[in-house]
């Protein structure tokens, strides 16, 4: 945030605390606008004006308020809650108001979060090697790239003319070493472009238009890429009860999604889950470049025990950072775990404001806030003419696992991909526990051309084959529950067997297996072809009079379940198909 960086744009507007109740403080005589950042009390705790009524301003405070008393001062900065945008965002870990947690640790001298300590979102002293991309005499407009710096080994950071500049002719620009506050280019109207921009988090960054997304965000997760793909620029929700796999799925996406940039927002969830990312990501390889994953990642960690007001804002901090890299022409994927905690933070603040509650105590504007958030995702034409995308994937934590609650329902009205997690599957350790009957992706058809062109011609055909078998299994299972499997005709028994391999070898994927954890689309496809080979051969055998037990006993078939863990899967599948064919044909 900007306190530490601004030449205290304190307009001298200060008021006095009237009341304190948890994260909500009211102040008298504070001349603030809505969403202005203020500093509360003797310790200068950071807060934001969220309601103004007569001369009383209500403030949500981003830090703990114990001991804060009426009569203490409140100072207005006159600036809305903003993030610092510039090189240094990647490979960083922030709290909900973009204070770098590593810097806080040093400044506080303690592993426990103290109060009243601030730090800029990006380091102000680091020198970056600036390479101009325009020359003196060129005319630049808002959004235009004037040069680049290497932010990390993976990412070239484009230095852009801020959207709220006028633009003009470049009168001075040169290569060299600069910190983020120094001008790297000067325009004829006196505007100076620095590497650092500030942007109010609650305001979407401008763009030219949103386009229909046509490229998949490849996740390396079979059930996602294969059955329920999300597009680059798409939206998805992962609702599920506790322990069903929301976080593991989000982590898998953060690790393996073929985005350029990952913004991971841990919103009101566990501390150790963020620590896991901090420890693992620097070690893990980005599947796209082979560089450390952290080099493309920015983390926002406002865990469940951190102040609830900062939890409310962490989602906005995340999406604003995502938009900034989108403006550079990158494909950004944002994961928010969990949007329910964000909604609950809204509810908590709202109830302290004694607002009229809507459904289940959530504020009436819950649906509006959710859709404003997901609307900031999309495949965009940027104001500088480049194309970039923000994909938004939100975990939802429905109380009692009941999807009929307001956050799940309002989210489903907006997002186009629904990955429904299922507690029963999780109990059976069928992972990922994504229910294939309930989930859907509205991007499926519009992404098929990409898969056909880049993976295989019959991508959609073989997928349909798998879906049909799984559907048939669901129907047959109902009968089996009444009469047992042996009472079914042989062909139906065989369908069940094929479906079992689809479930075990295709739908299931072990996130903790070094090889299985990531499955390229080619491999996803090959697993299906092997299963289909078994299906086709087995039915031929059945037609030729071979008893179903004999077909089921074919020794090589269970190896279908082991394709996932094969590194050299092409040869393995090739051989397996041959073995299956040979063995089954040997039966008649």
């Amino acid at each position: 945030m900007s306190k530490a960086t601004d030449t205290q744009s304190d307009t001298g507007e200060s008021g006095v605390i009237e009341s304190v109740s948890g994260p909500v403080v009211t102040a008298r005589d504070l001349d603030a606008r809505m969403n202005d950042v203020v500093y509360v009390g003797e310790e200068g705790l950071m807060g934001e004006a969220i309601e103004i009524e007569g001369d009383i301003t209500t403030i949500q405070v981003y830090e703990e308020t114990s001991g804060v008393a009426p009569g203490e001062p409140v100072v207005n900065t006159g600036e809305p809650l903003s993030v610092d945008l510039g090189p240094g965002i990647l490979d960083a870990i922030y709290d909900g108001v973009q204070r770098p947690l590593d810097v806080l640790e040093t400044k506080m001298g303690s592993p426990f979060l103290d109060r009243g300590v601030d730090a800029p979102g990006i380091d102000l002293e680091t020198k970056w090697e600036f390479e101009p991309e325009v020359s003196e005499g060129d005319v630049v407009e808002p959004g235009d790239v004037v040069g680049v710096v290497e932010e990390t080994v993976t990412i070239d950071h484009k230095v852009m003319v801020p959207p709220d500049f006028e633009g003009g002719e470049v009168v001075s620009i040169e290569a060299g070493s600069f910190d983020v506050t120094e001008a790297v280019a000067e325009l004829d109207n006196g505007e100076e472009v620095t590497m650092r921009q500030e942007w109010p988090v609650r305001k979407p960054r401008p763009s030219v238009e949103k386009k229909t997304p046509r490229t998949p965000l490849i996740s390396g997760q079979r059930i996602l890429d294969g059955l329920f793909p999300i597009a680059k620029g798409g939206t998805a929700a992962i609702p599920g009860p506790f322990g069903s796999g929301k976080t593991v799925t989000q982590h898998q996406l953060a690790k393996y999604a073929d985005a350029d940039i990952i913004v991971y927002v841990g919103c009101g969830e566990r501390g150790n889950e963020m620590t896991e990312v901090i420890e693992d990501f620097p070690e893990l390889e980005d599947p796209k470049t082979g560089n450390p994953l952290m080099a493309r990642t920015s983390l926002i960690a406002n865990t469940s025990n951190m102040p609830v007001a900062a939890r409310e804002s962490c989602i906005y901090t995340g999406i604003t950072i995502a938009e900034f890299y989108r403006d550079m022409g990158y494909d950004v994927a944002l994961m928010a775990d969990s949007t329910s905690r964000w909604a609950e933070a809204m509810r908590e603040i709202s109830s302290r404001l004694e607002e009229m509650p809507g459904e289940e105590g959530y504020p009436a504007y819950l649906a509006a806030r959710l859709s404003q958030f997901y609307e900031r995702a999309g495949y965009f034409e940027n104001i500088n003419g480049t194309e970039g995308s923000v994909s938004a994937i939100g975990a939802v934590s429905p109380p009692g696992g009941d999807f009929s609650e307001p956050v799940t329902q309002n989210t489903l009205r907006i997002v186009k991909t629904f990955w429904a997690l299922d507690a029963d599957l999780a109990e059976r350790r069928h992972f990922p526990s994504i229910n294939w009957n309930e989930s859907y992706s509205l991007y499926r058809e519009q992404l098929d051309p990409w898969f056909k062109e880049n993976v295989t011609d019959d991508w959609d055909e073989i997928r349909q084959w798998a879906i049909d078998i799984l559907d048939e299994e669901t129907e047959l299972q109902e009968i089996v529950q009444l009469v047992g499997k042996d009472a079914l005709p042989e062909d139906q028994q065989l369908t069940l067997e094929v479906a079992r391999y689809l479930r075990e070898g295709y739908l299931q994927q072990n996130a903790f297996h070094p090889v299985d954890t990531f499955c390229p689309p080619e491999k996803t496809y090959l697993i299906l072809t092997a299963t289909k080979t078994f299906h086709d051969e087995a039915f031929d055998a059945l037609d030729a009079g071979v008893p179903v037990e004999e077909v089921q006993a074919v020794e090589s078939v269970p190896q279908i379940n082991r394709i996932g863990v094969q590194e050299d899967y092409e040869a393995y599948v090739e051989e397996l198909k041959e073995d299956i064919t040979e063995e089954i044909r040997g039966l008649y």
């Binding site: 304190v20 114990s66 001991g67 009426p70 150790n272 469940s304 109380p399």
Partner: protein, 469 residues
Amino acid sequence: MKEYQTITEISGPLVYAEVDEPIGYDEMVEIETDDGRTLRGQVLESSDGIVAIQVFEGTSGIDRKASVRFLGETLKLPVTEDLLGRVMDGSGQPIDDGPEIVPEERRDIIGAAINPYSREYPEEFIQTGVSAIDGMNTLVRGQKLPIFSASGLPHNNLALQIARQATVPEDDEEGGSEFAVVFGAMGITQEEANEFMQDFERTGALERSVVFMNLADDPAVERTVTPRLALTTAEYLAFDKDYHVLVILTDMTNYCEALREIGAAREEVPGRRGYPGYMYTDLAQLYERAGRIEGRAGSVTQIPILTMPGDDDTHPIPDLTGYITEGQIYIDRALNSQGIQPPINPLPSLSRLMDDGIGEGLTREDHSDVANQMYAAYAEGENLRDLVNIVGREALSERDNKYLDFADRFEAEFIQQGYDTNRSIEETLSIGWELLSSLPKSELNRVDEEFIEKYYLEDDAETAEVTAD
């Protein structure tokens, strides 16, 4: 310090008083009643001229003439290593006739959040000696792993068994940091309290324990303080004094009831089933006080116990808990009536930190595969039991029958062990392999082929093959 006799309203556990000086949010308050008692409380809301005070001991006996003193600071607990071996009431006053406690320091009981950047990821295996936990839902140092139980079930026996048996195999060799137990009781009966105390005394554990007791007939509001005292003590012992601390909190359900009572008294908009909308945040502020910190030798491991009202795990108390903790252990009524000890149902149970705490060099190379396979097999067998009731065993295939047998043996041999048996992880895994070897090799698709070679008991396999034919 100024005294006020300005109480304007008394409502449930809350007292409102007029003040003419600024009073800090969360500040401590003392209220002296007519009959000379001193009650303690905390500021819940502070406005210009009026404050709302939550009284820990309850408001009975307070009238408008009572005098109110503001102590100018938030609730603090005196901490010292000498707390080990001591028994306190639910608000931190010693009740054991021991010597006066000379504090080394006074700590705010609210406790600041651990910076996620400063945490160290927990991955040291704790051997509890209980197969259903060690084998299937491994506990690691710094984890928060609650027991989801219900009334009338033996969760206390399990908690005590864990407290008695927990060791870290590596440490036994190297002689690492010392082990301590902090026990926080909220609203449990005298009888239950005795059960814990006697066990602590019998095993000599009391010496390395700190006990905070809020019993069923103690004030309900005090229960909101008790776990914070316990955790403040635990953090001090772990992060200042290098102890590995195991915190047992029981019963979290009583804690949540107290929260609900305060919420109702404040006329807050209630959340699900009348519990406050901020209960998730409040519980997180307790449960997240478990963990490891980089550069500190000690650790805080939490085993909170809760009883699910109506055996319903969608009830807000278990639900919100499960959303915050790193897994949960379910005590199962049906297994209990079958006489299984401990009656842990592994299927809905989970340890989220298991994956990093097990495997080669930690427990054993095949651990993860064995656990996965047993889960899948037990789930499959369990599932088939319903069907058997309808169609009978004969209508099931050979394969299905094997799974049914597996499920029965799994309960009788793996889960069942008694509260006094302490199994090493090796023993646990070898029971696992005995059971898995009753299934044909081709069914073990979650186990690496190399481990099947190494651990599968071939004898059983042959019989398995024969019956299959």
